[in-house]
């Protein structure tokens, strides 16, 4: 139906409306006033620049002032910023005001031309390309064509191989941590070994493995080794016999590195005994071996088996039995 309507007589284009003169076009007094306004705006910008320079030199860079809404603010940064803002903003306003009041505001019409070249030009172009390509003999000399294809296809490999030394191969690094049988749990920060009596029921602590003397702890270590120690009432556990044997008197330990995307699972809610990852809100139930009860994570946080050593400090019964942190292709999660 619309096709038909397009053919009926349409409303006509009345053409560009007649130009209406502004006050500044006809009244020299208005024009002079506009000129003064533009000049005043430029002057405001100049004042802003002077203010910026003055605040750089004269305001103590350590001085903080209290302002409503903004709160405690560094006086110099604020003065520099507002001065700079004024010096820039008023140049812009002046230019636009100038354009709007004093520069010609009559709309003009420019013609467009279709981009398409003439048929002859297009045909000429095609025949030129054919002709020139023919001169190179690419169509006839298939040996050159194929060998060129091969070499061009291969040449990209050299820069690729040169990137090999960007990093070492992962080997089994994603699957291992510093935890092993007999390694003491130590506080972070502080590096002090922990006795069960240090933790009250309801308490939570971040711990790390005690490293052999002389070994420095790196961020890479922490990224895999960080463990959360939580103490609840033993009767609140809902664990199978093996997992229960990994706890000690209500103290249970999980990897702090989220099994989803590796953020630190830092929010522990005492009442519900849930661990929450602040990045994507995966929620783990401490009483059920960090089972995922909400959010995108597909696996529980790995649990670390605990026991006491001869001196009564908490140690790992064994290393983690599965890789900690986010999943990766080689991870055997079955």
């Amino acid at each position: 139906m619309s096709a038909e309507i397009n053919k009926f007589e349409r409303f006509e284009d009345p053409g560009l409306p007649e130009h209406v003169l502004r006050k500044t076009d006809t009244d020299p007094i208005a024009a002079n006033r506009a000129e003064r306004q533009v000049a005043a705006l430029f002057l405001l910008s100049a004042v802003g620049t002077v203010g910026t320079i003055a605040s750089y030199i004269f305001i103590d860079s350590k001085k903080f002032i209290y302002l409503p809404i903004l709160g405690d603010t560094n006086a110099q940064q604020l003065a520099l910023g507002t001065g700079l803002a004024a010096s820039l903003f008023f140049i812009g306003i002046a230019a636009v005001h100038w354009a709007k009041t004093l520069m010609p505001d009559e709309e003009v019409i420019a013609e467009r031309h279709e981009f398409r070249s003439s048929d002859e030009d297009r045909a000429d172009f095609v025949s030129t390309v054919k002709d020139r390509a023919g001169a190179a003999g690419l169509g006839r000399r298939s040996l050159i064509k194929r060998s060129m294809g091969l070499s061009l296809g291969l040449v990209g490999l050299s820069p690729l191989i040169l990137l090999r030394d960007l990093g070492p191969l992962p080997k089994n690094q994603l699957a291992t941590t510093s935890w092993a049988a007999g390694v003491r749990l130590v506080t972070d920060p502080g590096n002090r070994p922990i006795k069960p009596s240090d933790l009250e029921v309801g308490a939570v602590a971040q711990v790390l493995p005690q490293l052999p003397v002389g070994t420095e702890r790196t961020l890479e270590n922490i990224g895999k080794d960080a463990v959360l120690l939580i103490r609840i009432r033993p009767e609140d556990f809902n664990l199978n016999a093996q997992r229960l044997s990994w706890t000690y008197d209500g103290i249970i330990a999980f990897s702090k590195i989220c099994s989803h995307m590796g953020c630190a699972v830092a929010l522990y809610e005492q009442q519900t005994k849930h661990l929450l990852c602040p990045c994507h809100q995966s929620t783990f139930d401490v009483t059920r071996a960090a089972k995922v009860i909400f959010g995108p994570s597909a696996r529980p946080l790995p649990q670390l088996a605990l026991q006491l050593d001869a001196e009564g400090y908490l140690i790992a019964k064994q290393g983690f039995t599965e890789p900690v942190g986010p999943s990766f292709w080689e991870r055997n999660s079955a």
Binding site: R10, E107, R112, A264, F328, N332
Partner: protein, 531 residues
């Protein structure tokens, strides 16, 4: 001749003798640009980019992109004697010990947020007005490229300070890389020079952030603008505006003053934001360590939709044959964004295929006149906004006293249910607006004045629209439905009669189903009917 004119003439002559540029310059100094507020959106993006280059250069003079551990002893007392990376320490140094340093950091960050916001709003303007149609498809693709790189550039930028928040962002990026099937662990170890976090990632992304990507930006922006220049700007329909002309103000002096002035206005406002609105106060977060985190971890706004998708992903992993595939990361982190951006890039070609339209378009569409496109845009926007809302679910939960779980479930279902509803509603609104336009053209504007006829009948006086207004509301060409395998009324052959042809015919029919444009004849017939 005045002396100043003579000097200008000499300079121009000197240059023209060596380049022959006088003819080109003469023509282009009076080049006509149409005027509309929405054409300033792209300008804002361009100016923010310039601001980013300027403020970013300033920051590089003091920033040390190194993950070597140092002990901080600058003037920010709460972190005194804390061990941290050199990049974090130098960011603190810029913030507290360089005069104007904090200001520049904040201008740089604000400019980045504005840069991406301007790109997105500019993209929406181009989409909803059909400015991407022939001959501007290439510029649409360049624009999509700029948006994609802009998101990456922004992420790399706020990752550089190596504070607790940005380090967490890098950790998440690492998990995405690590989740790639087969090559993930290798890609991660190559990117990080070993196990996460390592000591090389920040120096590496620094050079990408300050050299590689800005270089690509400069090249793409140059081509983007050259194409705008060469193809001439599109214009909104109106009296005197045709497909074959461009109506507006000449570059010199009006546009030079307006566009140049606008740069200073954008810069001034960004500087003002930098002065009064604190952004990314990295000193509050502390240095990055993988064992810690701050609650309410939020990415910058342009990453928020991605984060929202990741948050709402169902906990799906495939465990088989000793391997793990993390669908909970791959689907929201790579597959959905990939589909969205590919679809966006291909849209001009899909629309042209459906319409069979091979003509050049320089007059913009009023969004209501292309209901399906407008509805599709609104639908995509609702998808993004729901994802974005879930990206801030923790913040929303604490501010509005809702539960995170409730918001998550709402957005999980909403992401699937809401966009189709938005499509239907938007399309109905577009058609209603077309109907309203039609009424307006045929019956005029309701004046609210009631007149009693001698017979005692009450009538409302309608005021006829001006010819200019009537033309603006009726100038567009409505699409014609193609038939599968045959020819349409204009003789355009549709290619295939098979399933593809039928699909195309179906969509073409949907596009052609619109409220008829009122014609002068209808108006005349109505007029004579009244008397």
């Amino acid at each position: 001749m005045k002396q100043s004119e003579r000097i200008a003439g000499n300079v121009a002559g000197y240059i023209d003798d060596r380049t022959g540029a006088a003819g080109w310059a003469k023509k282009n100094l009076t080049k006509v640009f149409p005027d509309h507020w929405s054409f300033m959106l792209g300008e804002i993006a361009l100016y923010s980019f310039v601001i980013l280059l300027l403020s970013g250069t300033f920051l590089t003079f003091w920033f040390d992109p190194s993950q070597q551990e140092v002990v901080y002893n600058g003037s920010y007392a709460p972190l005194s004697h804390v061990t941290m990376s050199a990049s974090y320490a130098s960011t603190l140094h810029i913030s507290f010990d360089i005069r104007g340093g904090l200001l520049m950091r904040q201008i740089h960050h604000w400019a980045a947020l504005i840069f991406l916001a301007a790109i997105v709003v500019h993209l929406l303007r181009v989409f909803f007005t059909g400015a991407f149609r022939k001959p501007r498809e290439a510029n649409w693709l360049i624009g999509i490229g700029l948006l994609t790189l802009g998101i990456v550039e922004g992420f790399l930028g706020y990752s550089l300070p190596d504070d607790l928040l940005s380090g967490t962002g890098i950790r998440i990026a690492e998990a995405i890389i690590q989740a790639l099937p087969v090559v993930g662990s290798y890609a991660s170890f190559f990117a990080f020079g070993g196990a996460f976090p390592g000591h090389v990632f920040i120096p590496r992304i620094y050079i990408v952030h300050v050299l590689l990507l800005p270089g690509i930006f400069l090249a793409l922006i140059t081509v983007h603008l050259m194409l705008v220049w060469y193809q001439k700007h599109t214009q909104y329909p109106g009296p005197g505006r045709k497909e074959t002309n461009v109506v507006g103000y000449p570059l010199m002096p009006v546009y030079m003053a307006k566009a140049g002035g606008f740069f200073f206005i954008v810069f001034g406002l960004t500087a003002f934001l930098g002065a009064v609105a604190s952004i990314n106060p990295i000193w509050l977060y502390g240095p990055y360590t993988p064992g810690q985190i701050s609650a309410g971890s939020q990415p910058d706004w342009y990453m928020g939709w991605l984060d929202g998708l990741v948050r709402m992903a169902p906990p799906l992993e495939t465990h088989a044959f000793g391997h793990t595939i993390s669908w909970n990361i791959l689907i929201p982190g790579l597959i959905i964004p990939g589909i969205l951006f590919t679809g966006m890039a291909l849209y001009p070609f899909i629309e042209a295929w459906i319409s069979g339209d091979k003509k050049e378009h320089h007059l913009l569409d009023r969004p209501r006149n292309v209901p399906n496109r407008t509805a599709l845009g609104a639908m995509s926007l609702s998808f993004m906004l729901i994802s974005l809302a879930n990206g801030g679910n923790d913040i929303i939960a604490t501010h509005f006293h809702l539960t995170i779980n409730g918001i998550m479930w709402f957005t999980r279902f909403g992401l699937i249910i809401v966009p189709p509803i938005v499509f239907v509603i938007t399309k109905r609104i577009c058609l209603s607006l077309q109907r309203a336009d039609r009424e307006l053209v045929l019956h005029g504007r309701e004046t609210g004045r009631l007149v009693m006829t001698p017979d005692g009948e009450f009538l409302e006086v309608h005021e006829q629209l001006s010819p200019e207004k009537k033309w603006t509301l009726t100038q567009h060409i409505q699409p014609v439905a193609l038939t599968a395998g045959g020819e349409d009324a204009n003789g355009v052959r549709s290619k295939a009669a098979g399933l593809k042809g039928k699909l195309r015919a179906r969509m073409s029919l949907a596009n052609a189903t619109q409220v008829a444009i009122p014609t002068e004849r209808e108006a005349r017939e109505l007029e004579s009917g009244h008397h």
